[in-house]
Each structure stands twice: as C-alpha cells, then as structure tokens.
Subunit: 462 residues, 2 copies
Amino acid sequence: MAKERFGAWKNQTSVHLTQPSALDAFLAGLGDIPHDTAPNVVAAKSRDFFWYSPILKERLADCLGDVVVTPRSEADVVAIARLCAAHRVPLTARGGGTGNYGQAVPLHGGVVLDLTGLAAIGPLVDGTIRVGPGAKLKDIDLAARPQGWELRMFPSTYRTATIGGFVAGGSGGIGSITYGVLSERGAIAGARVVTCEAEPRVVELRGYDAHRVQHAYGTNGIITELEIPLAPAQPWVEIAIAFTDFMQLARFAETIGRTDGIMKKLITAVAWPIPRSFGTLKADVPEGSALGLFMIAAATLAPFFELAEAFGGETVYRRTDAEVAASGAVPIFEYTWNHTTLQVLKRDRDVTYLQSAFPSLELVAEMNERFGDEVMQHLEFVRSGGELAIRALQVVRYTTAERLNEIIRIHEERGCPVFNPHTYVIEDGGRKITDPAQLAFKRVADPQGLLNPGKMRGWTPA
Amino acid sequence: MAKERFGAWKNQTSVHLTQPSALDAFLAGLGDIPHDTAPNVVAAKSRDFFWYSPILKERLADCLGDVVVTPRSEADVVAIARLCAAHRVPLTARGGGTGNYGQAVPLHGGVVLDLTGLAAIGPLVDGTIRVGPGAKLKDIDLAARPQGWELRMFPSTYRTATIGGFVAGGSGGIGSITYGVLSERGAIAGARVVTCEAEPRVVELRGYDAHRVQHAYGTNGIITELEIPLAPAQPWVEIAIAFTDFMQLARFAETIGRTDGIMKKLITAVAWPIPRSFGTLKADVPEGSALGLFMIAAATLAPFFELAEAFGGETVYRRTDAEVAASGAVPIFEYTWNHTTLQVLKRDRDVTYLQSAFPSLELVAEMNERFGDEVMQHLEFVRSGGELAIRALQVVRYTTAERLNEIIRIHEERGCPVFNPHTYVIEDGGRKITDPAQLAFKRVADPQGLLNPGKMRGWTPA
C-alpha cells in the first residue's frame, strides 16, 4: 500500500479506514453529511497538480483517501472534525485541488474534506470581504467588482482555485507586484478555523494571527471563513511585448516594476522557446522572441508604452480586461506564474520547473548564459518587504533527479535561493524552517496530529 | 527699485513697464482681457509663501509686477503671450500662489499672469482627467470622486493650490508614499503649453515630454491644460499616533512604509515640540510626544493598528475622511509636508525649515541627537525610484544665515542632501543642475527669455 511509504505516520496511533468495519463505523457517524467512497471520486479528490513534478508524481501517485466528505456548513465541519478525532482518522482539507505540491493529497488515507460547498461570498464592508474557503477566486472577484472593489492578489488558477486553498498553500501571484506576497502582513484580515479535537472549537484569528494557517496546508486547523482585503476596482489592460533579447526584456520589466507612477498587477518575463507553447498568444510572437506579459492600469498606459518603445519592445498583444471577458479569450495571466509551466507541459512532458529568487538581474544573466535552454528563464516581479523582488519559476528540461538537484545546488551556491517545488513537506519548500507560530497553533488545534499528516515536518506527537 | 537687484536681467533687452507710456501702450493691446494695475492687487498677486524663508523674505519682499492679467481662455493666453513678445515684457505665471520659493514672484516686473480663471475640470476618461491649470486640487479631487476616482498626489495646500502651480513648482506630497514624486514618469500624462513668441504656438506635450514644464516655474512655457492620472477612489482614515520616543516612531513609520499590504497615502513623523503647534490636534497629544500622522485605507486598518500597538504607539486621533469632510475639521494633511512649518510659524516666527533626504534612519538619529531642538525632526516617507525613501522638512530655530548654512553643510557632509528652500533659482533648490530637456524647451518656447526671468540660471540669451 502506498500509505506504508510515509514513515512519520507509523509512530502514531490513528486507525486506518482500510478495514471495512472501521470505515462503516465512521460513515455511520457522518449521518446526513454528504460523502462518497466511490473509487473514482476518491481518486479524483485525492490529487492536485503535483504531477508538475516528476519527483512528486512518483511519490504521490498512489496516495488515496478513504472517503470524500463534503460539508454544507461550519456545523458540518465541526461534526466531521469531532468524528475524526473520536476515530483517530486523518483529515486532509482541499479546495479546487490546483496546488502543485501535494498540499491536498492525503498521505495516510482517511477523510478528504472537500470544502468547495462552503462557498459563501460576502458581506463586503469597507474594502474587506468575508468568504467561505470554497469560494472560487474568480467568483469573489466578480462579486466584488459591482461594489467597486477587486481582488488584490490571486494565483494563475483564478478560474478554478478556491480562496481557502490559495491561503492555505499559495504564496503570491497576480497583484503581488503591488501588494506583496501572501505571507506578508495585511494580505489576510482574518480567519475562522475549526480545530480537530474531541470537542472541536471554532477559533477566530484576527489580523496577523490569521497567518498561522497561511501556507500550513491545512495541518493546523480547518478554515471555515476568511476575511480578505480588496483593492478599489479599476480597468486593466493585458499586454504582451516581444523583445529580441531576453535580458533587455528583463531590464524593461524591472524598470516597470520600479516606476511607482505606473499602476500594475502583473510583470512576467519569459525567454524563448517558452512562448512557443503559448496557445493563441503565440501566433503573434516573432520566432526566437523573449516575451513580457503585463497587466497595466488603463490610467497609466501612456508611460508604460513610452518605456516599452524606449527599450525597443514590440507590442504583440493588447486587450482590455473587458474585451477579454466579453470575448471569452484566455486571460493573459494564464500564461504566467504556475501556468507558464503548465502551458509548456501541455506540449512537452519532459519539462519541470524551479521556484527561486534572484537578488539581481546580473545573476539572471549569469544563469541564463550558464544553462541555456536546459533552464528556460521565467521571471515574475513582485514586491517583498517593501522592495521590488525578482522571483523565478524557471522551466527545466528534465533528465534525472540528480541533475535537477545539481541545478538547484548551483543556483544556491551563486546566491539564488531555490524554493523547492518537488516536495510535499512545508518546510522543504519555501520556508526551510518550521514556522513557530504555525507549529504552536497546531499543538492547540490538532493535538492528535490528524490534520493532513506528514506535511509539517516540525510536528511530532506530544 | 527692487528690480535693479537682479543682475541677470540687466543684460537683456526687455522694456520695463515702469514708464507710464510703455504701460499704457501695453494695456491698450490687452483689449478686453481682464487686467488690473491697482497697487494692492498687483502686490497681492506678486507674492507667494516665500516668507517661510527669512532669506527669501528679505530678497523678494519688494518685487512687484506691473499688471495682473487674468485670461479667460487659451486664446487669451496666446494673445497675452503675443503682446509680451512684441513689447518684450516679462511674464510670470501664477496659480494659487501657495509655493514657498518665490516661484510666482516677478523678479523684473511686467505681467503677472493669473491663471486661476482657466479652471475647467474634465473630461475624465479611463482614470485620466483633463484640467485647466487654474483648477484647484480639491475641486479636481471632488469632481473625480463621484466618478470613482481620486487624485493620486497633492500638496498640503490642497484646498487653495492649483494643479498648474503644483505641476510647475511642486515635488510631491500626500500620495507620494504610494505613487512616487511628481518628477517621476507617470505622474503627468500630458500638457498643453503656449509659447512666448511673436507668433505664439500651442504645443501638446504627451507623456513624459510633459515633464519638460514640471518644476520649471513657468520659465519655459505657459501651461493651459494638463492631463493627470488618477487612482481608483477609496475611503481613507486619518490617524495620529503618539510615541514617547521619536526614533521608535520613525522605525514604526518606516515599517508601515515597507508593508505593501497596507494601502496608504501619508506617513509623516514629527518630533516634539512640533506637535505643540498643531491646532485642534494638539489637545490629545501627551506633552513631550513625537507624533505620527497617517492616511490609511479603511480596508487595511487592522494591520496598521496591529503594528502601531506592537511598536508601542498610542492612537490619539482617528477619523474617516467622510467624518472630516462632514465636520469641517482641518484635514490631517494640513499638519504635514509644508504645512508643518506653517503651523509652527503661526506660533513662533523665529523658525524656518530645511528640505532634505536621509539615506537611513541611523542618520536621522545622528542628526536628531546632534542638533536637538535647534533642528526639529519632520520626516515624510515617499517612494522614489521604486524604493521607500525618507524625506525631511526639518523645522529650524533660525538665528543667522551663517548658522543655517552651517547646518546645511553638516547635513551634506554626513551624506544627507539638502534641497535648499531658501532660493528662488530652480537649480539651487532640489535639482542642482539645469535640466537639459527643460532648457532646450525654453530655447524653443521662450527665445527672448521673457518667462519668469531670473529663475532658471542655466538660461542665457542666445
């Protein structure tokens, strides 16, 4: 059984539901809460986009839950948590399942908690919106706009991802160039969380305390409501600019990032041959071009295009967000962030990717020259700690795990930290160390270690 | 005559209107364009707030124009410019006269061009508004808000200053903490400018070209229309936070500046005893306190107050902008930027101020310790070149010009550049060198050197 692979769990005392009698007893306890044990449903809901990574694909492909449970309310969540605590059954929460790191994959079976039914949106008061964890980012955004507000930040999976999944496992995305990344103060205004105990509690986390459950993969509480700060809505324009030279594009992109007078939501720079995989967008991209993808406020198009011309870029695509919505075209951000790799994967299964940070454009140039097409450059510009920062999700031509690790090592030796996307362990990705606030909250909220077990390395049973 | 003091002008060939016959001939040429030679009117319109500076006060107090002309239209401006060119009469444009550096003071007599009649506001299209140079900042802001937009940046003289005067002589203000300063790309979207020639032209400057007339004091063209990019409107909250220690306040203010998740319009930090002069605000400020003044988006109050508490600040004032407008209270920004000095001057005539930049908080601490109450700290945080920057408008207890210059020298020796506010010469203030684009444009737009003569040092007659 796949479950046997995950050593950490062996020391614990949960009951696997693989024994039919245990499963029957558990299901009886669910009462009228919707659930499903059909193998195809369980298989579908035990997966996310971990298959981006050949390493995770091998390790997680066989991991399955035992039952998918779909709460209709916070009261249902409390009842499910109580039942899991009583039966010592693992519980892995999931939203849209669009994560890339196995966040939603149950390593030790048990309950897959499908939160997409908790999709309430609103009320919106003073620029902050309350939402259920299962609300889709797109639906929240579309609900906010008629009230004059819009999402500040969302992943490229906007159309299918839920806010709960994004908060519990995301790091940034479209909008981070202005508002910073998800882990930063102000990104989340509050969260309601159900604990997994004999008598579950509903905990209100206000302000920065809500970050205890951010990027914790649901290991330290079940999110049942979120408060998200919004930005005043304004019209945006999607633009793609081609450059003959990738580093010239990178310099242009950095300049746009540093120009505070230009309001923006997205600054992406990809090297050729990545744009060859860009669906309908590729038709207008000259062979061999590096491509910049941007979302710029309509109010500040003039200075943007002045700079594009000054840097020698060629505008190959330009549509207002209203035109994109009306035409049903693929939004430009679906070629950016994690979607960039996805677009390439559609065409070429032999690639994977890195996530990293570049302290300077000089190091981008150095790595670009060193690896050539083996590591195709993909930069995302964000604000972090009040400064412009260069993030990268390089598309890597995959040969072996050894070579991938060597590429990572070379980047780190040269001062470019890599946030390994080839691990399902929280600490081994971006953060490197266990967040003490997250761990402390897990001790309180999940004393038996039943929530998404195996994902937070720092946790050990008391 | 005061005019004789200004040497540069002696070499030129303009006709002073001090001879009654010359004045009569000139006035006849004005036809029905409104004008006034009444001494009290001419005196009032020949001044601005240069009296902030004891040095400028002495040098500019006697400078007067000969006639105030008030155009009703761009056609009037063209006719006036033609007449000035024909008669070789100096022309000094002015708006609200709220500048501090003698920008609107005619050094060599002639026409004072009062542009407050060109106050058209709108249309507003896609977040950019067209306005006449005489439109007041407050009126533009109030006109934009019902359409869902607001000014991105304005000086503390918002209620009385005109957009033309701000563009022609300002540098930044409320909003610069998000959108950068006025000289930066994107701050101005376009300008229409009338040249001063035998046959004046109306020149359309698009995008960054419009910066040719920014901070040029009207020396290289007469602005008759501006296009200004706006931000989507949102509710703001005015907040004052008291700290027992000024440097702790400064660290808090810098942290707010670096927190991209907090949307803000104003971050000001002043040392005691400055708050003692703060009108109605001072009642709630504990004796001896440093005071932080902030405008924070309603949507991000929670993370702001969390940080205020973490830093040990005490909230002494908090009102929404709607409450301020409804109550007629003094807006909090009228204690910030250049208004800070004004508030102190109301109480104590023996002070003046500096304008400077601090590369770090360490240098703020050093200067604060070195000068004590002789140089009272007043910091304004802005974005500049894509980074958080610390600007200062220190209130200085004035003794002699020598001591003031020594204070300036010490700051500059320690790496804190001072933008001297005690000069009416453009280059001697912030920029130090003549802007080549401004100078080139002056050669084209003002071949006889009639526009606000004596203010741009780099210009010499061809």
